[in-house]
């Protein structure tokens, strides 16, 4: 018997987004996750704090040395202002499109429509930080300083900051309010190198496999096998080799890695032949039509 209303099984939320270039190729951008972005922001906060402390110490030392108290005070006020408002804007307007914190975490800001990131967009997304973070913070700060235990106001301030801080979690593109206004989003930048070819460059003879042994698996299993081979962990190799041998009824020859490499090559060649004929076998559950 079926329940009239069944919960739909939802897969893990994917952060990959279609992004079609003018040439018509979908680049499949990967968005920065909420945790990564929070970490980047905290790093930036830390950097700003460090710079502020260094600036303050430098100015105090200068103050002791000279007696230009006015000029130094002005310098500090302006330095503080630029740090607070300019840090994010100036770094994001640069060629990398990222603050130091974002660069450490491998993120960058790009326009959602793929066009150039304009100064207006960068200023808009960062000016919004004022009401997202600094306003509730200073609100709570002044509350604490006054010692007025007004429960309503505290709750209001907490709700306010909660809404804005958690805003990225409530939409699928992880947009801050600033991103919403500026039409930007934060994507991951990956600087990988090309992994070596698993199939080419083998001198010795290869094992051959029966048709039945090769029709066991599809693309998903092939790519999982690729990960296992590239990972190179012995226990994983042993487990996978044992499973495949067991299923296909192949005797153990003591060389797990060699066996798996050859099986990978043979399976890959077979599945690619299928691709050329327009048959893509997604996983082992799909019917084998090779």
């Amino acid at each position: 018997m079926r329940w009239p209303i069944r919960k739909k099984a939802r897969g893990p939320v994917s952060l990959r987004r279609n992004f079609v270039t003018p040439e018509g190729v979908d680049l499949q951008l990967e968005l920065g996750g909420a945790g990564t972005r929070a970490a980047a922001f905290m790093l930036d906060g830390l950097f700003i704090l460090v710079v502020l402390i260094v600036l303050t110490i430098a100015i105090v030392t200068l103050l002791v040395a000279s007696h230009q108290s006015d000029a130094l005070e002005i310098l500090w006020l302006i330095g503080f202002f630029i740090l607070r408002n300019g840090w994010f804007v100036l770094f994001e307007m640069g060629g990398r499109g990222a603050t130091p914190g974002k660069r450490v975490m491998g993120l960058r800001v790009v326009a959602r429509d793929g066009a150039r990131l304009t100064g207006g967009a960068v200023i808009a997304r960062n000016a919004m930080r004022e009401i997202e973070i600094f306003l509730p913070l200073s609100f709570l700060g002044s509350q604490a300083a006054d010692g007025t235990a007004d429960a309503f106001l505290t709750i209001f301030a907490l709700c306010w900051s909660g809404i804005f801080l958690l805003f990225p979690l409530f939409n699928r593109d992880r947009l801050r309010v600033g991103d919403l206004i500026a039409g930007t989003w934060v994507v991951r930048t990956v600087n990988g190198t090309l992994g070596h070819d698993l199939v080419a460059g083998k001198e010795s003879a290869r094992r051959t496999f029966s048709d039945a042994a090769l029709s066991l698996y599809g693309v998903y299993e092939l790519q999982t096998l690729e990960d296992v081979l590239r990972g190179g962990r012995n226990d994983a190799l042993a487990t996978v080799a044992w499973t495949i041998r067991n299923k296909a009824g192949i005797a153990d020859d003591g060389d797990d890695f060699g066996f798996l490499s050859d099986y990978y090559a043979a399976l890959c060649a077979r599945l690619e032949r299928g691709l050329l004929l327009g048959k893509r076998r997604e996983n082992k559950f799909a019917a084998s039509r090779g």
């Binding site: 006015d70 006020l77 207006g120 930080r129 500026a182 693309v219 005797a251």
Partner: protein, 337 residues
């Protein structure tokens, strides 16, 4: 069914990925090297030859990606090409122009255009300021205790209804040997700039907090005027306010108008979708807001230096009105499309 895996003579199985890698890998590596150099340094680090090759290499990598997705099952290859193409894309299409050109464009075009685009909101913000000032003026004239309800304690600095005419006059023509004044002017600049940014950002809440902020700004102005006028210092206060006030109050009005723009664009998107409307308004309003901060720098200079050196009322009026005229011409002068 015990098929052992027999070992045969060498018979290389060339999968598509292998063939593909052999034919194209050199191109990909060159593109990766070029993109890496741009990312680390700048486009200027490339030779002319490399610069010409870059778009070709990028397109060839894109076509490799399309082909690999259709014919190859080597996941490492596909994800490598994806990230290589993405990096190249952002270096070719997504990078902002050089800082100098951006600044030039900002002053020549973006700023006045952004200000022109919010003329209605500017008018509303101006009227709100005037209304606030008139109300506060009337209130304080009728009952001076209102002054303390309107002004925050720190800002009046002794210039309240209980002060004598001499003290008030002294604050208007304060001698430049007063050490704290330059610092105070800087403090006022950073404070005002922060208020301008707030006025912009708070516009997000359907402009309601921005309206209150602008109204309050007008209230403070009116209350201030109401202290000086009864002591016969109205004309003198005018000069004192004008010299930097035309720039400063105009800047605050513009920042408020930028906030209104965002709020109304979200509340009433018109024919656009709400998201698109917010983006269009946000980008141009942010430009106007950045301009307001620059105006506040000018106002700070006028306040800190100009007002200390120019103590003659008529000169103060002249400077203030010239600044106002200058801003108006700069913003609203008709430009060629």
């Amino acid at each position: 069914m015990t098929a052992s895996s027999a070992i045969l003579e060498v018979q290389p199985i060339l999968v598509n990925a292998t063939r593909f890698r052999k034919a194209r890998e050199a191109d990909w590596e060159r593109l990766e090297y070029l993109v890496g150099r741009i990312e680390k340094r700048s486009v200027r680090a490339l030779s002319d030859e490399d610069l010409l090759a870059l778009p070709l290499l990028y397109r060839s990598a894109l076509s490799s990606l399309s082909v690999a997705r259709e014919t190859s099952l080597d996941r490492a290859l596909i994800s490598y090409l994806e990230q290589l193409c993405t990096r190249a894309y952002f270096q070719i299409y997504g990078v902002p122009t050089s800082a100098l050109r951006q600044i030039g464009r900002f002053f020549a075009k973006s700023w006045p255009e952004a200000v022109q685009a919010i003329w209605r909101e500017t008018l509303v913000a101006f009227l709100l300021t005037v209304a606030g000032a008139v109300v506060a003026y009337l209130l304080v004239r009728n009952d001076p205790t209102w002054f303390f309800g309107i002004m925050p304690e720190g800002l009046s600095a002794g210039r309240d209804p209980s002060a004598s005419a001499e003290t008030l006059r002294a604050t208007l023509y304060g001698a430049s040997k007063d050490d704290g004044l330059a610092v105070f002017a800087t403090y006022l600049f950073t404070h005002n700039a922060q208020i301008a940014i707030f006025a912009f950002a708070l516009g997000f809440a359907f402009a309601v907090p921005t309206v209150l902020l602008i109204l309050y700004n007008g209230l403070m102005l009116g209350a201030f005027v109401a202290v000086f006028v009864p002591k016969g210092l109205g004309w003198n206060l005018g000069g004192w306010l004008m010299i930097h006030g035309t720039t400063e109050i105009f800047a605050i009005i513009l920042a408020g108008a930028a906030g209104f723009r965002i709020g109304t664009a979200i509340a009433f998107p018109g024919r656009l979708s709400r998201g698109d409307s917010a983006i269009a308004a946000g980008r141009s309003a942010a430009t106007a807001m950045a301009g307001a901060v620059i105006m506040l720098i000018a106002a700070g200079l006028l306040e800190g230096i100009g007002r200390q050196t120019v103590t003659e009322d008529r000169a103060r009026y002249a400077i203030g009105l010239t600044m106002l005229l200058g801003w108006l011409v700069y913003f609203y002068m008709p430009r060629k499309a």
